[in-house]
Symmetry: C2
Subunit: 303 residues, 2 copies
């Protein structure tokens, strides 16, 4: 990744950040401890990848209004709640994330349960604000809402987390099919929601949505396999976290199940296919060079 492109990503990340900040709940009142915990969780940082992918897919299909903004905030709120609850002692029991205390470690367990609930609920409160945006197209918003809700829920992201926990608790090595289900749901579903909602809000057809959902699913799985690969091939300096943790935790990954070479081959195949799908849209005049570069950088990243 060259310096100019890194700078460009950083610029766009800051614009996304500004949108996000404008939708955060206001502090104060009797519920202020949990409102503070909500703000803390969202402000703990991150690449803001999902809202960025949503915005760029919206632009890919010619979207230019502000109706996408409440949805950008909503998807980041959903992503945020998911790790607030994932980090809980009853779940992964993580005290630190990106070098900062996790929400329960900073605010208490009960507050983190409620902050997570509040963030998820607030995601829908926020997305619903799209109906009040200038030039809002109600049919498109309803479709985007339904996609977002479905991909976030028990048949989407939560389903992936449920399967992941089940696999860990079973004490048995996960089957390849089960691991693919986990990656497709835990990680890829929210990438599909991001890109799919962006497409729908810009007026993409059912056929175009199907292309985007397919590509986003492949991107999500490739992204996750890259995570598994980096856990073996990366260095502490690059990743900022201990490597080899999956193997030490006997966690089934693409690499432990299929070996490094096969995992790398599948990751490349998925990535190339996804990029090909996106590029096929240019025949209908849909092009977004930044989006393509962003996705390439995600799935070939070294950290």
């Amino acid at each position: 990744m060259n310096d100019d492109f890194e700078k460009e990503i950083e610029n766009r990340r800051e614009s996304v950040e500004a949108v996000l900040k404008s939708y955060l709940p206001e502090k104060g009142g009797y519920a202020s401890a949990v409102i503070d915990a909500m703000n803390y969780s969202v402000n703990a940082g991150g690449k803001r990848l999902r809202p960025m992918l949503m915005l760029e897919t919206y632009r890919l299909f010619g979207g230019s209004g502000r109706v996408v903004e409440p949805f950008m905030a909503a998807i980041e709120l959903i992503h945020t709640y998911s790790f607030v609850h994932d980090d809980l002692p009853a779940m992964d029991n993580d005290e630190y994330r990106r070098g900062k205390k996790t929400t329960w470690a900073a605010y208490g367990e009960a507050e983190a349960v409620l902050a997570g609930d509040a963030l998820l609920n607030y995601a829908f409160e926020t997305a619903l604000k799209a109906f009040a945006c200038e030039g809002a197209d109600e049919k498109r918003i309803v479709k985007a809402l339904s996609l977002l809700a479905g991909k976030a829920g028990i048949y989407g992201m939560i389903g992936g987390q449920a399967a992941d926990i089940d696999a860990e608790r079973s004490g048995r090595q996960a089957e390849p099919e089960q691991l693919l289900y986990i990656h497709e749901h835990k990680t890829a579903a929210l990438i599909q929601a991001a890109m799919g909602a962006g497409a729908l809000l810009a007026g993409a057809s059912d056929k175009e949505l199907a292309v985007i959902e397919k590509a986003a699913g492949e991107i999500g799985v490739a992204f996750q396999i890259q995570d598994d690969i980096l856990d073996v091939t990366g260095t502490f300096e690059e990743l900022g976290k201990p490597i080899g943790s999956d193997e030490r935790n006997s966690k089934a990954t693409y690499v432990t199940l299929k070996g490094l070479d096969e995992a790398t081959r599948e990751q490349k195949e998925l990535s190339n296919h996804a990029i090909g799908l996106l590029e096929s849209l240019s025949a209908d005049g849909y092009q977004n060079e930044f989006l393509t570069k962003l996705i390439k950088s995600l799935i070939t990243r070294l950290k």
Copy 2:
């Protein structure tokens, strides 16, 4: 409460139950442990008060279609997730509810966190199905969705729970104003969502919605004060749980803060005012005798 009316409530509860069951998530697949926990939580019983109030308020304003049904399921899903999370060890640490194991006690803590998340998310997935109902009026559905989301969130029910936890942790006796905030949000907000959404889906005007929201808020607070009163005046046989638990836990209630006589007086005043508001609607031809009787029975109940 006479026997005929009790039978009538039971009949209507069974119809509500049938609607609810038709919207529950299907079992099976890699996420089945959490899907089972979701079903278990909803099927653990309850009076189904909120969907019943919603349906009867919908009928009060002349509603007769099925567009209210996904919303009836949605509000019960929200009510259900709230106690799945409330019962967690990190929150109230309750192992039993209505004589049955709570969700975390039956399925594990991580599963209960995810089942609660999944129920909340599924509430929105379900309510969104209203757009696909025959004769759906999109503007009404959007208003009902926004009301539901707002009343369930950090400025509604979750805000009340956050304030409640904050008050308990502070070690200080709650102020009367703070206790009113907790009752208005933790309990009344979801009653407002139930009756308000029913009204909106039937086409109630902004002015009529305001009357319903005011009445529902008073009903919710009166219902909660009645809970506080019964904790002092009820018997174990009537309530099916130990009495005097609030005093033993030094929990601030209307009775501990204001005394039994004043609490009883305020409860009656709120109840009478709410009933008066509902009856005032009959001047415009809106009447639902069952709804009025149901509400009277709720706020004068002995268990």
